[in-house]
């Protein structure tokens, strides 16, 4: 028995150590490949110049801005909808409907991104173009709406899970005191479920940040700094996908690794920031 215990303990320890190691190794790998071009004035160049390989300019700031805008906006769009959905599913619990919605959301997690991309190109993009009568419709807003849809199942499922962990006795207490449903949500459920919700937000944010296909298909991929939500923009992930075919020795190809590191750090910062909120709880 003791042996079996130790065996499984080391097996699981090994598995977690391995996955942690891989994460670190990926960062080391990218830094190593970047080293030849990682010089101070070059970093400054990458952060200030425009992207124009023909003229020897390899700035990725517009792509960083595109990534942040799209990921953040998709979270902003998705958060209230997901909150409403999970409240509906777990707290209001209308018979039949709630369960059906939950099944539907679970089904949504299985839809491949490329499908969302297709729907975006053929339905959402023309709609946005006509409604605002501006630009091509391939823009930050379209991509964020679609990404918001993509990450909402993650949010909804995590929110529902955390809501269902709020002890029933607390909820009964609110009812007994004559509290409204709103008071129940705001004063009891949200503070109690906040931690679990944050995990969902972190995961969803990472997914929005790392998604390539939706951005590639509907954000337009222009390389200039976007000045409005209706402007075409390129994310770092789409940038990597688009220039991956460049020659190994070319400067464009080396920029791939810098883009990768920047993306890695931006995602890490986002996660650290969200984790930081963990201690404070909801305002």
């Amino acid at each position: 028995m003791d042996f079996q215990d130790r065996f499984f303990r080391s097996l699981f320890l090994g598995a977690s150590a391995l996955s942690a190691l891989v994460t670190v190794a990926v960062l080391c790998f990218m830094v190593l490949l970047c080293l030849p071009v990682l010089k101070l004035d070059f970093i400054r160049h990458v952060l200030t110049a425009p992207w124009s390989p023909g003229q020897g300019q390899f700035g990725i700031l517009p792509m960083m801005a595109g990534t942040i805008c799209i990921a953040f906006l998709s979270l902003v769009i998705s958060f209230p909808i997901s909150l409403g959905c999970s409240f509906f599913i777990e707290i209001l619990k209308p018979k039949g409907k709630g369960n059906l919605l939950k099944k539907l959301v679970q089904f949504m997690t299985a839809i491949p991104t490329v499908i969302y991309g297709f729907v975006g190109v053929f339905l959402l993009v023309p709609f946005i173009r006509e409604i605002f009568a501006y630009g091509s419709g391939m823009c930050i807003l379209s991509a964020s709406l679609m990404l918001g849809l993509l990450i909402s199942p993650t949010l909804i499922l995590f929110f529902s899970q955390s809501f269902s962990r709020v002890p029933q006795s607390y909820l009964n207490a609110v009812d007994a005191l004559g509290g409204t449903t709103w008071q129940k949500l705001y004063h009891v459920i949200l503070p109690h479920a906040w931690k679990g919700m944050l995990t969902g937000i972190v995961l969803a944010f990472g997914r929005a940040m790392g998604d390539t296909l939706i951005a590639l298909m509907i954000s337009g991929n222009a390389v200039v700094m976007p000045s409005s939500l209706l402007d075409s923009a390129r994310t770092l992930t789409a940038h990597i996908a688009l220039i991956f075919a460049a020659d190994f020795d070319s400067m464009e190809f080396k920029i791939l690794f810098i883009s990768g590191i920047v993306l890695y750090m931006m995602t890490s910062l986002g996660i650290l920031f969200t984790r930081g909120l963990d201690r404070k709880g909801p305002a």
């Binding site: 992207w51 390989p53 190109v121 337009g220 222009a222 390389v223 996908a241």
Partner: protein
Amino acid sequence: MKKCKRITKLVVLLMMVLLSAGFAFAGDLDVFKGEKQGLKISGGTAHIPVMEEAAKRIMSFNPDIQITIAGGGSGAGIKQVGEGLVNIGNSGRKATDEEIAKYGLVTHMWAIDGVSAVVSPKNKVKSLTKEQLQNIYSGKITQWKDLGGEDRAINMYTRDETSGTREVFWEKGLNKGDISGKANVVASNGAMKSAVANDPYAVGYMSVGYLDESVAPVTLEGVIPSIATVKSGEYKVSRGLYSNTKGEATGIVKKFIDYLSSAEGKKIVVEKGFIPAE
């Protein structure tokens, strides 16, 4: 008895005719008999319709052969064949001397194609001068109104820097003029077609072989881009379609490339909207 013999003769004759017809039909495919190898192809997206049709015919003639076809663009095709990741790397531009020297590439041109500027069929503007086209792509002309069209902004679409179609369009269509950073970027000829077909205010460019009724070709300097005008040399924004191999092609790779230039291969090339290379 005699009658029976005659019928037998007739049947034999008929069978011979049918068989020889079968042979004649499968003639160019015969070389693939007995092959068991796989074949990996990637690169230029203009090539894909021809590649797929050729692969389909070869694989239904001999199911032991597995041919996989991927896009990625000309840059990817050249890089991947050079690195030995695929057997054939397609490109819609001639590989540069550097690329040829570095990877030891051998290039095979099997078709001639044009690159046409395209707009939506709903757009009134269907004819441009080269100067107008340059001004659109450099960002100097931003409104369709200025070209006699609707009062809407022009939505530019372009391809990524590794595209052979972009290279040819930039060199011969825009005379190496600027392509503004504001242009939307799509990753293949197919994506370009669906983008322009869905956007009434779009301007883009793509392989002449990809033209159909969902997009309208733009008459450039009075010449409408089509197979006929590319063939006659009237339409100048043209290029070869290449299949590149690392070193001389051998075995099934050679057979595949030879098949593209065979009588049947040429028929496929014509069917898919290109001009077979002589």
